[in-house]
Point group: C2
Chain length 117, copies 2
């Protein structure tokens, strides 16, 4: 770990090629906002993080996130630097995101969610 000086964004070395943030919010059953947790997020993120580890995809960061908003659209995850939001529902969806986007560098069109503020 080092502290450097960089003068523009382009000069800043990148820690990860891609960085996934996945919502781990779990609200109680019956909560009016719902939550990604209530919609089955946990086993999906477990699978995602295990796959990244198993495949030694160190160039992909994985971080648990608090509420990303848009709770009814969950389970939600976002991949940067591309700024792509996905709403996977099944283990197969996770596998496709890992293979196609995180490893392959291509969009998984069918799982993209476009959100508006």
């Amino acid at each position: 770990m080092n502290v450097h000086v960089a003068s523009t964004f382009e000069d800043v070395p990148q820690l990860y090629k891609r960085h996934v943030f996945a919502c781990y919010t779990q609200r109680p059953a019956g909560h009016p906002r719902g939550s990604c947790g209530q919609q089955g997020a946990q086993p999906l993120w477990d699978r995602l993080s295990r796959k990244l580890e198993a495949e030694r995809l160190g160039e992909v960061g994985f971080t648990a996130a608090g509420c990303l908003g848009f709770c009814s659209a969950g389970p939600l995850m976002v991949v940067y630097p591309e700024g792509v939001w996905y709403a996977p529902k099944t283990p197969e969806d996770i596998d496709e995101i890992v293979e196609t986007h995180l490893k392959g560098g291509e969009l998984v069109e069918r799982l993209v969610v476009v959100l508006s503020r």
Copy 2:
């Protein structure tokens, strides 16, 4: 909120111009790894999120994150899509990140932390 199909990363509309993820991990005093919380993160992130709200910077997303790793370098936050990691220590550091980077679109060189995997 809509579900669309986009075929390349460039086609995906961006929810935010910038998205900040700030580590809210708090480990107990004396924990060998330490934590951003132990290094004073909470009041800094409170200030950051309040400022974004007060200035109605809706184009900047702010999300609480779990451990981002590199605990000894904290308090840690990362700004995407630029992939810039900052380690602010004071309220003035937060104000400068908001003004210069999040609003102004320029790097705050003195607060950048370059991390290596």
